[in-house]
Structures are given as structure tokens and as C-alpha cells.
């Protein structure tokens, strides 16, 4: 009988935020009543001292949210009760400038989240989302000197209203879909990143997101602007404690990749098993720019997330690499969209998914080449791995080509674990669980190796525990 070592228990706690009894709670001082109406929307705006144009934008978006229908394709979202959600919640803590100023209580929670010591130091330059608001945001001095702005979205709006107004809602307008409208009406938190011309941000900018209250929706809004010739890597890690009531996470991310700039946006999402994770992420890439979405979806009840790239000017490049793990009772509806609007643009979508214990993972993608976008090249590959006979895997790729001078290739495969490989490993003395988890990790390797190291380790451990049946 293998001993459930202390180490394993720690790893479990560290990498799987769901298994964390006694997570520390911080009392919130202001919260709106449950549900959403025009009054609440104005209240949120007033509470944050927002300019009039933002309040008007929120109210208009709320009107759109009311009239838009729920999406009829994809997973069933009828169980979301919009009236049972608290849309805004303000924590007691004020914004902090350095790690030392972060209250002990919050540090304790980070401790329980298992953020490694080294990484905590690294958190200088990171924003942590604590109940809808960023509580500390420490920007490295060198970045400040370079003119890089890395603020919470609320702070960004306060300090740089002209910049925010110029870009906010321009890629994902409220009219885009019901959840984009909801986010525009009720957003709070998220990050605002501005990288000036020619500046290369060497270290990834990181933000931690947490839902810390049952039934509390999180509607963070992130806006990244990378000016000409700049480059930046933004990392978002999400985790949430387990609660019995359903919660909703509906974020919007907008990214502007200007001429010859490069942006990488990495997500490791590990919501608890009761969260509806419905996210709209979109980037516009200008001439010679490059956008890279790296998207790992684990946890949540239902995830619907399709990072999109609009290649707007010639020689723009886009890449989407996504990984999804659907365990018991989970539905991962992920994928990617690329729209080629200009000549000589290229894109790559690569998706890997694992379904286990009755989970269902889907790839839903779009490749569109508009007339005039000649010499566009597109390559899409989807690989799905099914670990048992009760799970399910779907692929829904849409390919729409209206230009002759193109090269588009799409490949998809659904497979189970190779019995031969399993037999080989077991004949070398590995248990079936170990052998399976080794093979699943191998399958995910293409994604893992592109992650920053601490996330790579986290994903590796999480997959090991999931596939060996260590959690459940």
C-alpha cells in the first residue's frame, strides 16, 4: 500500500486549489445586491468613480445583454442563474505597492495555494486578483523606467483614461455576444498593460485570479496594447476554492499587437468544478506583428473559450496552442479562431485534449480567409486522447476560404492510449496508473514545454494526479 506521503498531500494542495479545506476568507466591505439591473450597473460605476463615458458604456451594454439571446450551439448554459450572482464586491484591502505590504492573511492564502517561495519573490511585477479587485500591483522599477504600464484595469482607467477610452471595447464590443455585453456592463478587475514603442519586457507579467466568494461572478477585463516593435509575455493563472453553488467567470481580453510587435498570452485555468467559464479573448495583429495564445484549460464545469486572432495587416502571424483536460462532469469546449484579412499572413492552431471519467472535450475552431488575403497559410492540427469508454471527444472545425492564393491544411485525430505502449511500460515494472499518467504527460508535452517552468511543473503534477485517480 503506497503511503500517501506528506509530499503528495502538499502537491495536491498546491496544484489543485479545489482540495483546500479552510481557505482563508477576507470579509468584503461593499457588495452590490444579487442580480443585475441598470441601478446596480450605475452603482458599480459610481463606486469606482468612473468617468461618465464608462458609465454610459456600461448601461448601454446592459441593454444589449438583456436583449441578446443565449448561445444555442455548444454546451447547455441554461443552469446559469444571472439573478443569483453578486456582480461587484469590494475588498477591504487597498492597493499595495510591494510584497511586504501585502496583509498576512492574503499571504497565508497564497501559501495555501502553494505558490513556491521563489515565485513569491518573483511576484514583484505581478498583480493578484483578490475578490474582483487587484490588491497589489508592484511594478518592477526597470519596467517603470521603460514606460511600461502594468496596472489593474480600474487603476488604468483612473490614471490613463485617454488610453483606455481609445482602445476599450474596440476589439470585443458589447454587441459581440451576450457574455461580452455582460462583462462590459459589470466588469471589474483585470489588467491594463501598455508597452511603448520598441520596448521589450524581458520577464513575463503575471496576474493571479481567484474567486473567493460563493456565487460571485468575476468579470475581469484585460486590455493589452503592444506598440510598434515591442514585445511582452502576459501570464494568467486562475484558481478557485470549491463551493457548492455555481459561479460564473466571464472575462474579456483585448489585445492590440502593433506593427512588428509580439505578444504572448499564457493561461493556466484551473477553476473549481462548479464554475461556468465563458471567456471572450481576441487579438488584432498589425503589419509584421505576432500573437501567440497559449491556453491550458483544466477544471471548471463548463468552459467555452476560443482565443481569436484577427490578422489585419500584411505579414502578420498568429499561433494558438491549446490544451484541455475534461474530467468527471466537465465539459471543455475550447479551440481557436483565426481570421486572415491581409495578404502574406500565416497562422497555426494546435489543439490537444484529454477526456477522462466521462468528461467531454471539444475542439471548436474557425479559419477564415477573406477575399484579398492572398498567400495566406494556415495549419490546424487537433489531437484528442480518450482514456475510457464513457468519455467523449468532439471536433468542430469551420474552414471558410474566399481567396484562391492560399494554403490551408487541417488534420484531426481521436485516439485512445496505445495498448502497446501501456504494455511496454508495464512490462518495465510501472503500474497501470503510472504508465497511463506518463503517456498522458507525453501527449501534453508539446504544450508543457512551452510554459514558463513553474507552470509546466504545476501542469505536469496536476495531470499526473488526475490520471492516476489521485483526486476525485
Amino acid at each position: 500500500m503506497p503511503v500517501l506521503t506528506k509530499e503528495k498531500a502538499t502537491i495536491k494542495r498546491a496544484v489543485y486549489s479545489q482540495v483546500r479545506p479552510g481557505a482563508v476568507q477576507v470579509k468584503s466591505v461593499f457588495r452590490t445586491p444579487k442580480g443585475l439591473n441598470e441601478d446596480i450597473v450605475s452603482q458599480i460605476s459610481e463606486r469606482k468613480n468612473e468617468p461618465d463615458w464608462m458609465r454610459d458604456l456600461r448601461i448601454a451594454a446592459y441593454g444589449i445583454f438583456r436583449t441578446k439571446k443565449m448561445p444555442t450551439w455548444g454546451p447547455n448554459l441554461s443552469k446559469i442563474n444571472f439573478d443569483a450572482i453578486t456582480y461587484y464586491l469590494r475588498p477591504q484591502e487597498r492597493e499595495m505597492r510591494s510584497w511586504d505590504d501585502v496583509p498576512a492573511k492574503i499571504k497565508e492564502t497564497f501559501d495555501k495555494l502553494g505558490i513556491p517561495q521563489a515565485e513569491r519573490k518573483f511576484l514583484a511585477g505581478a498583480g493578484a486578483q483578490w475578490e474582483s479587485e487587484v490588491v497589489y500591483h508592484s511594478l518592477q522599477e526597470s519596467l517603470k523606467k521603460q514606460g511600461v504600464i502594468f496596472e489593474s484595469m480600474d487603476e488604468g482607467l483612473r490614471k490613463y483614461p485617454y488610453l483606455v477610452r481609445q482602445y476599450f471595447g474596440k476589439i470585443v464590443p458589447a454587441r459581440d455576444n451576450k457574455f461580452a455585453a455582460l462583462n462590459t456592463a459589470a466588469w471589474s478587475g483585470g489588467s491594463f498593460v501598455y508597452v511603448p514603442k520598441g520596448v521589450s519586457v524581458a520577464l513575463p507579467l503575471q496576474a493571479y485570479f481567484r474567486i473567493n466568494e460563493p456565487n460571485m461572478g468575476q468579470f475581469e477585463r484585460t486590455l493589452i496594447i503592444a506598440e510598434e516593435g515591442s514585445s511582452v509575455h502576459y501570464v494568467e493563472g486562475c484558481s478557485a476554492p470549491r463551493y457548492t453553488k455555481d459561479s460564473l467567470h466571464s472575462a474579456v481580453v483585448e489585445i492590440f499587437v502593433k506593427k512588428h510587435a509580439r505578444v504572448q498570452y499564457t493561461t493556466i485555468q484551473n477553476w473549481s468544478g462548479n464554475v461556468f467559464n465563458l471567456v471572450t479573448k481576441r487579438a488584432v495583429v498589425y503589419e509584421g506583428g505576432e500573437m501567440f495564445w497559449l491556453d491550458c484549460n483544466l477544471g471548471s464545469k463548463i468552459t467555452m473559450k476560443y482565443p481569436s486572432i484577427i490578422l489585419r495587416e500584411p505579414h502578420a502571424k498568429g499561433e494558438i496552442l491549446s490544451f484541455a483536460y475534461a474530467g468527471r462532469g466537465q465539459r471543455q469546449d475550447a479551440g481557436g479562431k483565426v481570421i486572415h484579412c491581409a495578404p502574406h499572413t500565416s497562422s497555426t492552431i494546435s489543439s490537444r485534449s484529454v477526456s477522462n471519467q466521462g468528461g467531454r472535450s471539444s475542439y471548436r475552431g474557425l479559419v477564415k480567409v477573406a477575399p484579398g488575403a492572398h498567400d495566406a497559410t494556415v495549419s490546424v492540427t487537433c489531437d484528442a486522447l480518450m482514456l475510457d469508454s464513457v468519455s467523449r471527444s468532439d471536433t468542430y472545425p469551420t474552414i471558410d476560404i474566399a481567396e484562391e492564393q492560399v494554403s490551408v491544411a487541417h488534420e484531426a485525430r481521436v485516439n485512445r492510449i496505445s495498448e502497446e505502449a501501456l504494455f511496454y511500460l508495464m512490462s518495465r515494472g510501472l503500474s497501470q496508473g503510472d504508465a497511463t499518467s506518463l503517456l498522458v504527460n507525453g501527449f501534453a508535452q508539446a504544450v508543457i514545454k512551452k510554459l514558463p517552468m513553474e507552470y509546466a511543473i504545476e501542469l505536469h503534477r496536476l495531470l499526473t494526479l488526475e490520471t492516476k485517480g489521485g483526486i476525485g
Binding site: R392, D400, Q405, H410, E411, A412, N415
Partner: protein, 189 residues
């Protein structure tokens, strides 16, 4: 059999049966055709090769559903289209492997060659797999005539029109079974 003569409806392939369809299509249609193939009996096999030559403003809206209900069933659909003029295809292929249909082997491929800037291809080859013991795949590609092939033919004295016909014919006949080859006349629109 010519595709435009196939009516909307279902085809059931029973236990141990092997059905092969071969379709060569030159004329388009307006109202989408919906064709469902049900592999109902163990060991049923279905193969379908489609070659489409689109020109002028012909459209080819087609929904193909393949449902694997029984174990050890096999399906292979390979569609190749060459589109010229303002012709367009709009194809929705959906392969469903139901629970308990172990040992299914399925592959769906939509390959398109665009010869004109106004031709348009919209394809959705989707898979819905509800059991683990399967080999399922699909492929889709949209390409233009390769520059090196055009150059090679030009250097051998062929004019552009002839080259186009030759390469289009070669594209349509790749992977085609012998029975289809005899039906494929040299590409000519």
C-alpha cells in the same frame, strides 16, 4: 453515381455489408442536400469518393452525416473539389460514433483546389466520438496550384490553360479508386 441525382435521405448499411459510392459532380444545386449514412450492423463498411468540378456560379451545398451505431464499422469519405469561376462548396460533414460502437475506424477528408479568386470553399468536417476504442480522423485542405508545378509545365511548353486542366485532373484523381478513374474525364470546363 452522379451526386446531383442522390436524393435527400438515409442509407442504412447492415451487418457485414460493404457499400461503395463513387460520385462525379459537374453541376451544382441550390437547396442543401442532406444525406445520412447509418452503419447499423457490426462490421458494416461504407466508402464514398466524391470528385467535384465547379465552374461558373455553381454551388454545392451538402450535409453529410455518418452515424456509427455498431461495433467494428468502417467509414471512409474522401471528397476532392476543383473550383473555378465563382463556384463554391459549402460542406458540413459530421461523423458520430455512438457509445458502445467499439473498434470503429473512420476518416473524413475534404480537399479543395481553388483555381480562381472568386471561388469559395466552406467546409466543416466535425467528429463526435463517444467511445474510446476508435480510430477517428479527419482532414481538410484548401490549396491553389503549386508554383513549381506551374513553372515545370510552362518550361515544358504547356500553356497556362492546359496546365490548369492537367493539374486539376491530377488533383481529382489522387487517391481515387479505379472505378472513379474511368469516370473522370480530363478536367474541362
Amino acid at each position: 453515381m452522379a451526386l446531383q441525382k442522390i436524393k435527400n435521405g438515409d442509407l442504412r448499411v447492415g451487418r457485414g455489408e460493404h457499400v461503395q459510392w463513387v460520385s462525379v459532380v459537374h453541376k451544382g444545386w441550390r437547396i442543401p442536400k442532406v444525406i445520412t449514412i447509418i452503419l447499423a450492423g457490426q462490421g458494416a463498411q461504407f466508402e464514398w469518393f466524391i470528385a467535384v468540378s465547379g465552374h461558373d456560379d455553381h454551388s454545392f451545398p451538402l450535409d453529410i452525416r455518418v452515424i456509427h451505431k455498431a461495433p467494428s464499422t468502417v467509414s471512409r469519405i474522401s471528397a476532392r473539389s476543383v473550383l473555378d469561376g465563382r463556384s463554391h462548396i459549402s460542406w458540413n460533414g459530421r461523423v458520430i460514433v455512438e457509445k458502445g460502437a467499439h473498434g470503429v475506424d473512420t476518416h473524413l477528408a475534404f480537399r479543395t483546389l481553388l483555381l480562381s479568386a472568386s471561388a469559395r470553399a466552406r467546409t466543416i468536417p466535425s467528429l463526435e466520438i463517444a467511445t474510446d476504442d476508435v480510430t477517428a480522423g479527419h482532414a481538410a485542405s484548401v490549396d491553389r496550384l503549386a508554383d513549381d508545378a506551374l513553372f515545370y509545365c510552362a518550361s515544358r511548353g504547356l500553356d497556362h490553360e492546359e496546365t490548369k486542366k492537367l493539374l486539376a485532373h491530377a488533383f481529382l484523381s489522387t487517391d481515387a479508386p479505379a472505378s472513379l478513374l474511368s469516370l473522370l474525364k480530363p478536367y474541362d470546363n
